[in-house]
Symmetry: C2
């Protein structure tokens, strides 16, 4: 135990509880029944009087109930997510009551293939029934009921734990205020199924496996080690393996010209395989990977959209850029399914080199997202709404992004929006405009933003912010699903303005567009008299370092709308953006302009 | 045998030859000696009188000497690269004499671990010495000598075959006119070593393996099948697996809730594993993968640049966009190593969804590159220099690319170039300008181009063309390694013109830049009087669909050069690009401009 750590939950204990008695078996998804069922779990923190601070953590393939703290003073390693859970940490045990249980089919206290089969008085082995993610979640629900918990502030999990999070939100919509699913998927793709299948093949091919009847004898350690090695390759990214090991040799300078493990990466895998065998049961490995392979929300509910139809919780979906096992695209599919139902979802694809393992290795960034989202959910009227980005974050923003943040057309845009509308802000920055609209006009707002730090700020404001590049298309937002779509000072920076504009017109009843006017007299004069690319207050960049890659005037945009059959409902040419609309010779005098447009 | 195929080499036979007698053993890289050595090989076509048409094909991990044709009329499957080798095919046996031998350590006729160890009169098993790629190549060289071949027109291979190609060019520079290395690497990264190691672990863990003494008994089939399954996952791309299998079930509509292989991808892997076991020796798998792991040109020669110092052949390096086993970046590293030595290298990263297997599955595209490169190497004064792109290719070019191809400033640029210079043309298109300069000015030319079809055209013109995006930096081109660098009509389309321009000034003694003049009176007038983004002959695009993302005038560029301390040696403002330099009021009258610049 690390006694210098002030933020540890300290010495903790795994409890085991009999949840299902032998005479009242649990009906499983496969149709088979299982009894008795014991469940191992740990809790940290205290349930408050309002009983609104309970958080369930769902663990992944090789995890267990022991999330945080130590089992004894001699214990060298803390729980598997100790970096995230403890007093003052992202999942703050001073504020929240945290529960985690070993999943059904596991091998760390909860009933699984190594448990005694009451029919035979011997370990189940391969007689254990196939388990699904929904079965695991059902058992967790029974545990929470037994513990007297009526509602969860949040259910949180990564990887296979994230699958459980999705299943929770779908199966028990009224029980879950918010769902945080990290590095997960609504279903495995062919490649992941293939890796799982090969791992299981290695276990079953081990001569010790003996059709699962190895308990109490020599275990299929070599097969399980091989399965684990395959797993570890998929948990790391190519980049992180390259940086961690490269082609480094374990010890010698010269090749040994034999078959010993001599590359550092081989030794690493040997070690990972070996240490896993000492703590994990091959049977559980088979059952849990099979449950993951079977998990398929689109199959179960006909489509992914339908799967999320009845969910009620707020969602935070997080992926990692270098995760090639459960990819960012798979997380985006979840986000799209939720968006298609108009649900409250935030999403960030955290930039990380660590691959799938990032959900264990990025405690700071991931912690910021989780704690920000939890706080906004738990205390929605938090005092930090008007907060500024701190220095560290501000440094990471480019000059352009900072300019964006200083957009001054907010007040005018606000004047255009009817109360109680549904609003989508494209390139919403830190959510300032949406927050204002929410406060002053009681709108229901959603934001799309590219910059990770700004997405985080928006989430802290309890706004549903999705990190996304609109140039990739917005097909999952339904036709006319917004009263207003706002595209402020962005049209001139996108690669394909026509495609983007038409998309926005599809999904918004009205689209509010603002951009700097290239037809302004200063631009004309500079090009005319100086013969140079214009630089003005609204176009402050040099010809070679401008984020503006298209230059258009009011007249260009008028013509553009005419050609595309777009209605211009309002046109506000502005001199000083905040205050002075232009009354005549707009294309000559306006520095920038706000259009309200629509298209049936 | 497919009797309808007119382009088959027909019935062929594998020959086995004793290359090394027992009393004169071959000294291996490991220091050990090996004798006797038999080699299995096939040949197709005829060696011509000039003896300049011999091509060696090097096979990959699971290949053999049987490249093309059938072994009998009952033979159902032709050789492993039959799509590429035959009369009229990319490697045309009407023109070329093709040889392929089973590699040392293999199991298809060449001496390997399954061969009899003369010391024990039993199969070698694990007593077989470790083989390196260089050892394999040495044996191939001995074979060619025995066959009376004095020189190779080309050595060609993909994957581990590509490693042999690189080794050939390095070890026997005078023997090889050209080297075609496909989907290969100069060394495996940690991830690939890891996959290999796990595969070997699975073989060794198989109880039948018995430390390699399984010959004549039950073979380690389950271990070898698992190794092959892992391999197959890495040969396919995630995308191709998704499209081929997805989550499709083998037969049933409902999950079977057991551990049988029920997903289509599982059945596929089972089949691939099983069929491999029937034709391949586990021992060879161990030895060949180990040879691949050991292959490391940078390690052997201190740096990758040094490795290529003495090569003399022309190179064609090909990678595939979705290959994550031997990645495009690894091919680019080879290209950079060759460029750093000023060698003659062409490169294309073929856009393909098929992953590493693309080298077997993209016969048409890959065939075009190989045949074009072979023809240009074999008959350098081919008649098709002035050829136009055919209709099919032209369709794939965008309007912008076609406009680029019609660049009319060639003649003027040509007038600026001194004879016998070394010239780099950035965005060289189909190589027309370089071909003209080569013909008229005897320059040594190199091109960089993004569009696959244009790269191919340049290669057909016997130009070294590298497919590359210059915005990623050009650090591997040495300081002042070119007399001229040409950037024609491209500066205004790159994201970071300053970075690109400075890079070019570093590597060229003179940099010739041309761009459309945004200061031209028509632009000024249009913006002034119409208040619209200008559209002219030189700037023909609308504000929203222009590939030009920066707009600059002569004056802008003058200022830019002044600020960057760049010398303007010559400035040619042009009205009609071909003929009319502008004598006064250049910034007002010039439609476009050519600058000659330099910087120490």
């Amino acid at each position: 135990m690390d006694t210098t750590d002030k933020n540890t939950v300290g010495i903790v204990k795994t409890n085991v509880i009999r949840l299902i008695e032998s005479d009242r078996p649990l009906k499983l998804r496969s149709g088979r029944e299982l009894a008795p069922i014991d469940v191992a779990y740990e809790t940290y923190g205290e349930l408050n009087d309002a009983q609104d601070n309970a958080i369930l953590i769902c663990h992944a393939l090789s995890g267990d109930a022991h999330v945080a703290g130590y089992h004894s003073r001699d214990d060298k390693k803390p729980g598997w997510w100790d970096c995230m859970v403890g007093p003052g940490k992202a999942i703050d045990t001073n504020k929240y009551f945290v529960i985690c249980s070993n999943l059904l089919g596991g091998c760390s206290g909860t009933t699984g293939p190594a448990s005694i089969n009451p029919q035979t008085d011997k370990p189940y082995g391969m007689d254990f029934p196939i388990i699904t993610i929904a079965d695991m979640v059902k058992v967790q629900k029974l545990l929470l009921e037994k513990l007297g918990i009526k509602k969860l502030l949040a259910v949180i999990g990564g990887s296979i734990g994230g699958m459980q999070v999705l299943a929770w939100a779908i199966e028990y919509p009224d029980f879950v205020d918010s769902a945080i699913a990290v590095a997960t998927t609504s279903r495995l793709g062919a490649q992941s199924i293939a890796f799982d299948a090969v791992g299981r093949n290695a276990i079953v091919a081990d001569p010790n496996f003996d059709n699962g009847n190895y308990y109490g004898r020599k275990v299929p350690d070599r097969g399980l080690a091989i399965a684990r090695m395959i797993g570890h390759i998929t948990y790391l990214s190519e980049q992180s393996m390259r940086e961690k090991f490269g082609r480094q040799l374990r010890s010698a300078q010269a090749y040994s010209y034999d078959f010993d493990s001599e590359f550092a990466v081989e030794t690493y895998l040997d070690y990972k395989g070996q240490s896993f065998v000492e703590r994990f049961d091959a049977g559980s490995y088979l059952y849990i990977t099979k449950a993951a392979d079977y998990f398929d929300l689109a199959r179960k509910h006909r489509t992914l959209k339908k799967a999320f139809e009845k969910v009620k919780s707020r969602f935070l979906i997080v992926s990692f850029s270098s995760d090639w096992l459960f990819t960012p695209e798979q997380s985006e599919a979840i986000v799209k399914g939720l968006i298609a139902n108009g649900k409250d979802v935030s999403f960030c694809n955290i930039n990380s080199p660590y691959g799938h393992d990032a959900f264990l290795l990025e405690p700071e960034t991931l912690g910021n997202f989780i704690s920000g989202f939890l706080k906004a959910t738990h205390s929605p009227i938090a005092k930090d709404h008007g907060r500024q980005l701190n220095g560290a974050n501000q440094k990471t923003l480019s000059r352009f992004e900072q300019a964006q943040r200083a957009r001054v057309d907010y007040e005018l845009i606000e004047s255009l929006i009817e109360p109680d509308s549904i609003v989508l802000d494209i390139g919403c920055g830190d959510g300032e405009l949406l927050a204002r609209l929410k406060k002053d006009k009681n709108i229901k707002g959603r934001g799309i933003e590219l910059v990770e730090e700004l997405v985080l700020e928006g989430i802290r404001r309890r706004l549903p912010i999705v990190q996304y590049d609109i140039e990739r298309g917005l097909e999952n937002y339904a036709y006319k699903s917004f009263d207003y779509v706002i595209l402020s000072q962005t049209l001139q920076t996108v690669k394909n303005p026509k495609k983007v504009f038409m998309e926005l017109l599809r999904l918004g009843r009205k689209v509010i567009v603002s951009f700097p006017n290239f037809g302004h007299w200063r631009c004309r004069a500079q090009l005319l008299f100086l013969g140079k690319a214009p630089q003005t207050r609204q176009l402050p960049f040099g010809w070679h370092d401008s984020p503006n890659i298209h230059f258009l005037s009011l007249k260009d945009f008028d013509e553009f709308c005419r050609r595309l059959n777009v209605n211009i409902e309002k046109k506000m040419p502005l001199v000083k953006a905040r205050l002075s609309p232009v009354r005549f010779a707009a294309n000559l005098l306006a520095e920038q302009v706000i259009y309200v447009t629509s298209k049936d």
